[in-house]
């Protein structure tokens, strides 16, 4: 079985580029160039240098002693929360801004839900002195005022998406429409392993630095490069794609994907795409997505703004369909409790997205000798108000 992308841009039956002809030249230009550009030694050098000096990589692989004791297994946290801007998102935006420059683009567009990817994009645009336009659902703009302010401070224009449900999927639609309207000078920095080929593969490759580091860091800690389990939360799936990447073909490493169940998988207020989704097309990719019987895309729900995407990247749809990854759905309540537990046990306030991954330890029993690497995708500063509202601090 092959878990990587094939030459036609598919993971098994998922992926492809289901895009209007108006987007074809942009996407085709990227498809023809992305691997070539990424392979250039100069590109590699600049990418790695920025990850080191600007992002602060490598991010630590931290043995969580008290958490491990509580769950009687060996838990390592991959500290993506310690990156500049507070999450794994920046790995991708650094890579894509360098790609955009190589392709001669001087105008950058992006979509954002909670604002994390928008901030990471605005950051790299400031770094490179490029124009930055971020599309954000009107409802999300109201909910995520601090991140809107951050983007503006960084020089980005934040444009409200007023169509449809006025959240992440509609912000993505607006970004795509912008790209249709500006086919020559603009690069679209997608924030996850979603969208038409080559985006899922390109974003996964930029995030793959996470699993690459896990290998040598685990060698230092445990004398081996392979964990028994890799655990990561999945919204669109870029964090999980990065954490899994170098282990995809090695089935001795078990992969656990944690989705947001919201108020419960069967509650009607959920974002557990693997369980609730059906095969279809969203944002140019054939994958699993939440939709009506009639093929209209529906609005997901999770307390975590980073996990409520109605689709999932085609890589993850394939991992689900083949059984390569085990998918576990975690409710709002389970996630919030797990987040608070990490605060108390390890002195780390996690993003609510990462709290979903942490809740796995109450749902699944690991052996004492198991080495479990969990991707702590982001820090909880941005979620403080949610934690306050939930726990009534």
């Amino acid at each position: 079985m092959n878990y990587n992308i094939n030459e036609k841009g598919y993971y098994g039956e998922f992926g492809g580029a289901y895009i209007p002809e108006m987007l074809y030249p942009n996407v085709e230009e990227l498809r023809q160039n992305y691997l070539k550009v990424m392979a250039e030694p100069e590109f590699q050098k600049e990418f790695n240098q920025l990850l080191k000096d600007y992002v602060g990589r490598p991010s630590p692989l931290y043995f969580a002693k008290r958490l491990s004791k509580k769950y009687n297994t060996k838990i390592y946290l991959k500290r993506e929360d310690l990156n500049h801007t507070g999450a794994h998102k920046i790995n991708n935006t650094i890579g894509q801004i360098l790609m955009a420059k190589r392709l001669g683009k001087h105008r950058i567009i992006a979509e954002t839900g909670a604002g994390q990817h928008g901030v990471a994009t605005a950051t790299v645009c400031a770094l490179m002195g490029l124009e930055c336009i971020v599309y954000m659902g009107e409802i999300d703009i109201a909910r995520q005022a601090p991140n809107v302010a951050r983007m503006k401070m960084l020089g980005a224009s934040v444009i409200p998406a007023l169509s449809g449900s006025r959240t992440l999927k509609d912000a993505t639609n607006e970004a795509i429409r912008d790209w249709i309207n500006n086919p020559v000078d603009t690069h679209y920095i997608i924030g996850s392993v979603v969208g038409p080929h080559p985006y899922p593969d390109m974003v996964a490759r930029f995030q793959a630095v996470v699993s690459e580091e896990i290998q040598w860091q685990l060698q230092e800690h445990e004398g081996k490069t392979k964990p028994d389990y890799v655990v990561a939360c999945v919204g669109g799936g870029s964090n999980a794609a990065g954490a899994y990447y170098h282990f995809l073909e090695d089935t001795e490493v078990k992969l656990i994907a944690v989705e947001a169940a919201g108020l419960g998988v069967d509650s009607g207020e959920s974002a557990a795409t693997s369980v609730l989704g059906k095969e279809g097309i969203i944002h140019g990719s054939k994958t699993l997505l939440m939709q009506t019987n009639d093929g209209q895309i529906t609005e997901p729900y999770s307390i975590s703004a980073g996990l409520d995407y109605p689709g999932v990247g085609p890589m993850h749809a394939h991992l689900y369909k083949t059984g390569r990854a085990e998918f576990i759905a975690i409710t709002d309540d389970q996630a919030m409790q797990a987040g608070l537990e990490l605060c108390k046990l390890e002195g780390i306030i996690p993003a609510i997205e990462s709290s979903h991954a942490l809740a796995v330890f109450k749902q699944k029993k690991f052996q004492p000798e198991d080495v479990v690497v969990l991707s702590l995708s982001g820090r909880g500063d941005k979620d403080l108000q949610n934690y306050i509202d939930y726990f009534k601090f």
Partner: protein, 254 residues
């Protein structure tokens, strides 16, 4: 016999009109089609509304959202259209995004179209190569013409490829834009219209996007076989309802 090639052979410039099924009201579909034909329109694109219409500007987005709120579904549209051929004889095309068709079942969808008397489909997010490899045989089995888009950025090589697998007309997108966002054609568009006309393609071209009045219709049809109006007609429906369709069509063709 498919009505599109016959229509294309007529010695006149063609006006095609797009509307979103289920808008402004859920039961307007047949009235709009019949009134358009009576008013002298040559071809109609019936829009199957989608929650996430990537290639459309605000006007068609809003009409799609409203149509879905009104309760439009694929099945309902087929029911509304089941007797349409008793009263309407011009070519009818369904334009919609691929996901609703995929969920209905592509073959079941095509079969239904044939039963009703639909002549063609326009599916902006079904790529040419995927159609060619996976769906062409099904479309042909049910006598449907699939219409492809080209844009000012489409390469000569790709235009020739699209021409080679088309068997009706080529939908020429007037400029790099989503629907409804351009006002008037400039020198750049005229150059592009001439460039394509000079390619002497096998399939005639019909220009869409940015055509809203008599002037833009005339500009487009100077170089192409016909033109398609969408957003401007939706706006007319929003403002005037379904009763004054004739005056809109007259204002284009006068």
């Amino acid at each position: 016999m498919n009505r599109i090639p016959t229509k294309l052979k007529e010695n006149k410039k063609l006006l095609s009109i797009y509307f979103t099924a289920g808008y402004p009201s859920i039961d307007n579909t047949t009235t709009i089609i019949q009134n358009l034909e009576k008013s002298g329109v040559d071809m109609i694109e019936i829009g199957l509304p989608f929650s996430d219409p990537l290639a459309d500007g605000p006007t068609i987005q809003a009409s799609s959202t409203q149509a879905l709120k009104n309760g439009m579904t694929t099945e309902l549209l087929f029911n509304q259209l089941k007797d349409i051929r008793k009263t309407v004889s011009i070519p009818l095309i369904i334009m919609g995004y691929f996901n609703p068709m995929l969920q209905y079942g592509v073959e079941a969808f095509c079969k239904k179209c044939q039963e009703i008397g639909i002549d063609g489909l326009i599916i902006p997010d079904l790529p040419v190569d995927v159609y060619n490899e996976e769906y062409k045989a099904i479309f042909e089995k049910y006598g449907l013409i699939n219409v492809f888009l080209i844009t000012p950025q489409t390469s000569v090589e790709r235009i020739n490829f699209i021409d080679s697998i088309s068997n009706g007309f080529i939908y020429m997108v007037s400029s790099a834009s989503v629907t409804g966002s351009s006002s008037g054609f400039g020198e750049e568009q005229t150059k592009y219209f001439k460039r394509i006309a000079n390619m002497k393609l096998n399939n005639p071209q019909i220009i869409g996007f940015g055509i809203s009045n008599n002037e833009t219709f005339s500009q487009a049809t100077t170089h192409a076989k016909g033109a398609i109006i969408g957003s401007a007609f939706i706006k007319h429906l929003t403002n005037k309802g379904v009763s004054e369709i004739n005056s809109f069509v007259k204002s284009i063709l006068n």
